[in-house]
């Protein structure tokens, strides 16, 4: 047991080192690219071309294969950023700051995709591009948080204090997001704007579920891939004048 723990601790220490991570990600990226593209293409291809047409919505429902993974990924990225923010605040691990910096634009782009795909899906099915529903509103707030984090980062010239500032904002946002979600839920029950119900409990058929699961897996792996690449680029940017980078 202690052996595994020891291995984990050495892995954690290695993770904090720029040269190690740079080399490791260089090796890992082609493999991750290979494994991530397979479920993504199979999932999307299966979903768009071969899965059965929904009897109620017709072919438009196929947006689900992009919308649901994007929405799921956009929230998970914020959770991982929160963990990184805690690590960065307590242990001052530089890699955690790099992680937040690289993941924020990725999270913003997938939240944007979730919002846009949701509204494009809503137009033919509910007859409106946007309704002030609880879930849509909290996704919009999440998007604004990502934008605030990105703009806060870019307002600092010193990388180290930028990392700390962004960690503080990420943590405060993470504490507030549940409150916002809950209050938006209350607000939504207070002013029920229309008879449209978003959260209909529908049983999804297996032929639709399998490609959906595949494309969710594909999205997560793509996030992993783009995160690794963005962190690698960020390390290179910060360490361009260091000896180890020059000697590569």
């Amino acid at each position: 047991m202690s052996k595994i723990l020891k291995k984990f601790i050495t892995f954690y220490h290695k993770l904090g080192s720029y040269p190690w991570f740079y080399k490791f990600s260089g090796i890992a990226i082609p493999y991750v690219a290979f494994i991530s593209l397979i479920p993504l293409f199979i999932g999307l291809g299966w979903g768009i071309f071969y899965s059965p047409t929904d009897y109620k919505q017709g072919d438009v429902y196929r947006i689900i294969y992009m919308h649901v993974p994007a929405a799921s990924v956009s929230q998970s990225i914020y959770y991982t950023m929160t963990i990184a923010a805690i690590v960065s605040m307590i242990w001052r691990m530089k890699m955690a700051g790099i992680f937040i910096k690289s993941m924020a634009p990725i999270g913003a782009s997938f939240t944007f995709l979730a919002l846009i795909s949701g509204s494009i899906w809503g137009q033919p099915t509910w007859g409106t591009w946007w309704i002030w529903d609880a879930r849509l509103t909290s996704t919009l707030v999440l998007f604004i948080f990502y934008i605030a984090i990105i703009s806060l980062y870019s307002s600092f010239s010193e990388k180290k204090s930028a990392d700390q500032a962004v960690s503080i904002l990420t943590l405060v946002g993470a504490v507030n997001l549940p409150i916002i979600k809950k209050s938006v839920d209350w607000w939504n029950t207070l002013h029920q704007p229309s008879s449209i119900k978003l959260t209909e409990s529908s049983t999804i058929s297996l032929e639709m579920l399998y490609p959906l699961l595949l494309s969710i897996i594909g999205f997560y792996l793509i996030v992993l891939l783009s995160g690794l690449m963005a962190m690698r680029a960020e390390i290179a940017k910060r360490e361009i004048n260091k000896e180890w980078f020059k000697s590569l």
């Binding site: 707030v141 604004i144 307002s155 500032a165 503080i168 943590l171 504490v175 916002i180 809950k182």
Partner: protein, 220 residues
């Protein structure tokens, strides 16, 4: 310790009193925006009475945004924050006092002024106390977020402040307007007041320490 915080409090009061624009501009802004709504929406008393709680809350939220840069900026520029950070024990009380004085000067006048919505926006007079209580409970939370945003964006672009404060203060806006409209619907608004109070108590220590952390970044 207590003596220092008292002196800081007095010094803050004096410095706010000297710079009259810091507390006058939110007031002017509040009155102007409040008078724009009837012009843009409608002058029908029934319509306005329905919208009055929401309009008031939005105006309060926007006018407090004007003052968030003032909380730490002057002390940052003249270097007195530097001195306070060398006396490590006083930072927490300093941050608390600064938030409190900022609230007294930027939010309290607006809360008092917002009783004019009875005439301006035809808010039913019996719900005025509910509106004022919701503002009294909600604006401290907005001041906390404003202090955090001010501390994070010291000497930086001013769009950052609203980008941080506005999404964070969504719950306050929702609960504040909900308390008034629930009262107008004949329900008991105590539920919302308790929630606003709970949010404030929960966030007070958290945001204060986040503020200290954010201020310290500028001296590393």
């Amino acid at each position: 310790m207590n003596n220092i915080s008292k002196r800081v409090f007095m010094k803050e009061l004096v410095s706010y009193k000297k710079r009259s624009s810091t507390y006058l501009s939110p007031i002017v802004f509040f009155l102007i925006t409040l008078s724009l709504y009837p012009l843009a929406l409608s002058n029908d008393p029934n319509d306005l009475a329905l919208l009055a709680p929401g309009i008031t809350w939005i105006c309060v939220l926007l006018s407090t945004l004007l003052s968030i840069q003032n909380i730490f900026n002057e002390d940052y520029e003249d270097g007195s924050l530097d001195i306070f950070f060398s006396l490590r024990s006083t930072t927490l009380s300093l941050v608390l006092i600064k938030i409190l004085v900022n609230w007294i000067f930027s939010s309290l006048p607006i809360i008092i002024l917002s009783s004019t919505v009875v005439f301006l926006l035809f808010l039913p007079p019996e719900s005025l106390t509910i509106l004022l209580i919701s503002l009294l409970l909600g604006t401290p939370v907005i001041s906390l977020f404003g202090a955090l945003a001010g501390a994070l964006s010291l000497g930086k672009s001013s769009i950052l402040g609203p980008a941080i404060v506005l999404p964070l203060s969504l719950p306050v806006l929702i609960l504040g307007t909900a308390s008034v409209s629930s009262f107008l619907n004949g329900e008991d608004p105590t539920f919302y007041f308790l929630l606003l109070l709970a949010i404030f108590i929960f966030l007070l220590p958290l945001i204060c320490y986040a503020c200290i952390g954010a201020l310290r970044l500028h001296y590393e």
